[in-house]
Each structure stands twice: as structure tokens, then as C-alpha cells.
Symmetry: C2
Subunit: 317 residues, 2 copies
């Protein structure tokens, strides 16, 4: 059975770097986790990864796939990452290849998630879909006619930074106003909660928390208990998400939008308004052509699966 294809998947995140061995069937093993803050320089991470990879000398590996913030597929570079300890443009893929002799494919984390979803998850068999990751930020990976959209600069698919409310909230990281990420991320929903608490007369228990203690999880728990204000916060977040989705659908006509990440765990609380407002804002010919579903990948392994799928997609079997 030596013929099962294998690759390493690497997920570089703001908190952890995780590496695992993935088969073409989607089996994940040998997962190792590093703390991102331990690498004040990217070369130290490359060293740690290659030591680990080389310890599998008996395994026949087709390559290494990496999902990283601001990953540029064409150049294999990580460019100006906001949440990593090192800055600037780093030739991550090239240097990792040099160190361990394997082919390395690198793209941004949401793109990797999209490929993973197409290989193993909810988008299996789909040729046109959009992956939206609703975490601390909002990321996206766009697949058109079976191919990841990379665009002229290799950085396409930054839907979290598109403007949904002109002159809206200023994003602390980008300086852009009214972006999807400013409203529909974990941070965004907390901002909405603060606004709604200040704005609406309400007996919501949320009013008794200090601002610093309000989290997406807290709002979710109160929504589950039936707190009207918390429900309203989710309804509003889903409404904005759905309206943004309508714009995306009229761009590339996907048959599916897949949601992944912390905020998507709110399930119907966010899915139902998103579906409703997406449909309401679509041109007739697009109505009922695109469904919204939660990710079909196991949460712990999703990023690694996605990253490794880059290898299976790009290395000819």
C-alpha cells in the first residue's frame, strides 16, 4: 500500500504553527504544534519545520503545502503579515525548499481552506464556490471553474476587506472604512454589541458586563438563552453578511458559499439571516442558485488538510 499519496500540511497562524502528515484520502497523522511567538524570525521557523520534516526520511512525500496570512502563491512569499512576529516580504517557500529538498506550495490560509473544502469537505465536486472564514478576521478563497482565483498579483480573494458600508467603521489594521471584516468577524460582532448596548433601551444581561469582557462567545451564549439584544446582534451580523454574499454571487455566480471559523459555529443564528438577505438582494436570475453551508472539514485538521491539498492539486500524480 505504498502508493497512497502523502504530503505535509502546514498552517501558519498568529498563535500556532501546526504541521501534519496528510494522505490523499484525507487522513491526518503526526501532528505537531509550535507556538508562533517562539519564532521572532521566519528562518527559525523554517529550521524547526525542516528538522521535523527530515525526521520522516522513510516516508515518500510529494511536497509541503502551507497556508499563511498574506501568502502569495505565485512567489511563495509571505507579504506584510499583520499577526506574525516577523514583517515585510519573506521568501518562505523557496527557503524551505532549499532546506529540505521538497516542493513547497504556499498560499493564504483561506485559499488553502477552500482547496481543502473542495478536496475533502462541503465543496466536493463543486466547480464554483466561495470559502468564507469567519474568525478574528474575515478571509476568503474563491474557486471558479475548479480553479483557485489568484489574480494578476497572486493575492486575489480578499473579500473581508471589501466595503459593505460606505463611511462605516474604520478598521484598526487596514484603515479602510466599512469593510466586511469590521462587522462580520469575531471582533466586528463585539463592536456591534457595544454599539447596540449603548444605543438600545434593553434589559439584556449583556449590559452588566464590562466592555472588555464582551466576546463573540458571550453574545452567542446569551443569544442561545433567548436574550433579545444578543439575537438582534446576530441578526444584524447575518444581514450584513447576506448582503455582501449577494454582491459576491453576482460577481462569480458560485453554487455554494462555505462558512468556516469561530463565528460560523453560531449556525442558524447567522446562517438564517445571511440566507434571507442574500436572496433578497439578488437579481432574479441568481435567486436560489447559491446555497450557504457550514464547512465539512473536521475543525482541528481543516487548515492542515487544506494546506496539504495544495500539493495534491499542483503536483501531477
Amino acid at each position: 500500500m505504498g502508493n497512497v499519496r502523502k504530503a505535509f500540511g502546514v498552517d501558519i497562524g498568529g498563535t500556532n504553527v501546526v504541521i501534519g502528515l496528510v494522505t490523499e484520502n484525507g487522513d491526518v497523522s503526526d501532528v505537531k504544534k509550535f507556538q508562533t511567538k517562539d519564532f521572532n524570525e521566519y528562518r527559525k521557523l523554517i529550521d524547526a519545520l525542516s528538522v521535523y520534516i527530515k525526521s520522516f526520511k522513510d516516508e515518500c512525500i510529494e511536497g509541503i503545502g502551507i497556508g499563511a496570512p498574506n501568502g502569495n502563491f505565485y512567489k511563495g512569499t509571505i507579504e506584510y503579515p499583520a499577526n506574525l512576529p516577523w514583517k515585510g516580504i519573506t521568501p518562505f517557500a523557496a527557503e524551505l525548499t532549499e532546506k529540505c529538498g521538497s516542493k513547497v506550495f504556499l498560499t493564504n490560509d483561506a485559499n488553502a481552506a477552500a482547496i481543502g473544502e473542495m478536496s475533502f469537505g462541503a465543496a466536493k465536486g463543486k466547480k464554483d464556490f466561495i470559502m468564507i472564514t469567519l474568525g478574528t478576521g474575515v478571509g476568503s478563497g474563491i474557486v471558479i471553474n475548479g480553479n483557485l482565483v489568484l489574480g494578476s498579483n497572486g493575492m486575489a480573494g480578499e473579500l473581508g476587506h471589501t466595503c459593505i458600508i460606505p463611511y462605516g467603521r474604520k478598521h484598526p489594521g487596514t484603515g479602510l472604512r466599512g469593510s466586511l471584516e469590521s462587522y462580520c468577524s469575531a471582533n466586528g460582532i463585539v463592536e456591534t454589541a457595544k454599539e447596540f448596548i449603548a444605543k438600545f433601551q434593553s434589559h439584556s444581561p449583556l449590559k452588566f458586563f464590562e466592555e472588555k469582557d464582551i466576546t463573540a462567545k458571550l453574545i452567542y451564549e446569551h443569544a442561545l438563552k433567548g436574550d433579545a439584544l444578543s439575537l438582534q446582534i446576530f441578526e444584524y451580523t447575518g444581514e450584513l453578511l447576506g448582503k455582501a454574499f449577494a454582491n459576491f454571487v453576482m460577481f462569480s455566480a458560485p453554487s455554494l458559499i462555505v462558512l468556516f471559523g469561530g463565528l460560523s459555529k453560531a449556525g442558524g443564528l447567522i446562517l438564517n439571516p445571511a440566507k434571507k438577505y442574500m436572496e433578497e438582494n439578488l437579481l432574479e436570475v441568481f435567486k436560489n442558485t447559491c446555497s450557504i453551508q457550514l464547512s465539512g472539514l473536521p475543525e482541528d485538521d481543516a487548515a492542515i488538510l487544506g494546506a496539504a491539498s495544495l500539493v495534491f492539486q499542483n503536483v501531477k500524480n
Copy 2:
């Protein structure tokens, strides 16, 4: 030189239907124009086109390309056209093929324009660009990695109907609120003029026209003469266009946006604010990666060239 490839290009518009013979070098000849209103049924237009096409029995034609409102490339149908005398879904391509024995390719007019621009115009050699037609409405054709984006339903690329101002103007045709088309089309700019005339203290000569006499052309002429209100109307239109473009760029990362159609003739009046506001609203990694240019196609033949290019693109040489 009987080896030059040839195809018919057909442009079906609300006012005229135009057909012409096009070579792979972009030469257009034998142009014939019909009035759209003369065809109360689509089959009458098919009859008229096939009579004309059959009269070229000595020409070796590779096929017929058609650009039509709401044209579906996959199905060869025209679906619920707003401005044509017939309604519903009509199997236009299949019936024209049956009548005259040629291969027929049909897509929406802005998609055809995009292919034309890639074959003969400003987008020659570009793999990632977006065509925006600024006419009575706002149309779009999106090219990613050298391929027209059609999407899961064959109708992708309706950027004119994306929302740019939540709860904004209601579009009389679609019922959608705040769409790009409601602001940045010839009709949209007239609406803006009416609003600005009512809203701003001004000595603009526009104030002395009856509402029904205000046209995009009139505003343009007054802007050229230096009328501050008319200039402000163009600045606002360009601003909205530029902000919408920023969103499009963060979707597919085109290296070029090509403008075509009546309103684009305003040139710098609309291009300059569009460029400025696009750049201002882009994420850092996209700044200065996308230019905005006017169409490189001769105005009279652009639609026919685009439609015929569909044939050259899709028939293997």
C-alpha cells in the same frame, strides 16, 4: 488568402440589432443594421439573420457569435431580457444553428465586449481584467486567468447590480436598492443631477432645464464649460465607481479595468475620480496593481468584434 478565419458577429441591443462579418485580424465588413422593435417575436429576428447569413454562401464562416442582454453562454438562451420586445427564456442559439447550420455562441453583451477587448482592444495580452460598460445601464464582463467568468449558472458578472449604497436608490427595473447601475449609468447620473439641483444652492445653468430635458450629455457639456455643479456630479459618479472598483479588485485582482460605453466618453471627468477613490479604498497589497483605461475598440464595431471573438475563442483553429 482564403485562410483568414471569419465569423459573423451579432449585437442584439434594445434599439438595434447589428450583424457584421469579422476576420480574426479584426476587420469588419458587410455590416447590416435592423431595428429591434421590428421583431415582436424572437423567431422573426432569427429568420431575418439567417436570410442575411445565407446570402454569404460563398464565404467560409466558422460560426456566429452573439452578444445579447441576459445571454446565457452555457444554454445559448436569452433569459428575461428587460429591453427586448420578447420576454421569457428563448433558445436563441439552438434555433439559429438549426436555421443556418453554423455553430452559434451566445453570451451577454458585456461578456462579448470583454472578449473583443482581449482579442483586439485595450486588454490584448491581459489575463486578468474586468470590462465595465457604462451605457443606459452598467454591464460587466470578467476575465480571470484568460477565461471569461461564467459561473455555475452561466450568468456571472452582473456587477452593475451589486449594491454600493445600502438602502440607496431603488432600481426601477430590478427593484434592488443602491446598485452601481442606479448611480453610475447614463440614467444614474441624470438622477444624481436632479438630486444635486434640488439639494445644492448653485447658479448652475442646469437649474434652468426641465427635468425631462436633463441628459448625461447635457451634464457633460456643462461640465466641459466649467459649470461647478456639473463637475461635482461627475466627481460623485466617479467616486462611487472608484469605490466599487476597489471591491472588484479585492475580489479577482485584475491588472486592468476597461471602460466602454457612452458615459466613459467623459474621459478624465470620470476616470480621474474613479482612479483616486479606487486607490484610496484598496488594501495595501492591491495599491497600484490595477489600471483603468478606456476601451481600445472602434466604437461602431466594438459589439460586433466582441461577439465574433466568441467564435474565434471557442472554435479550435
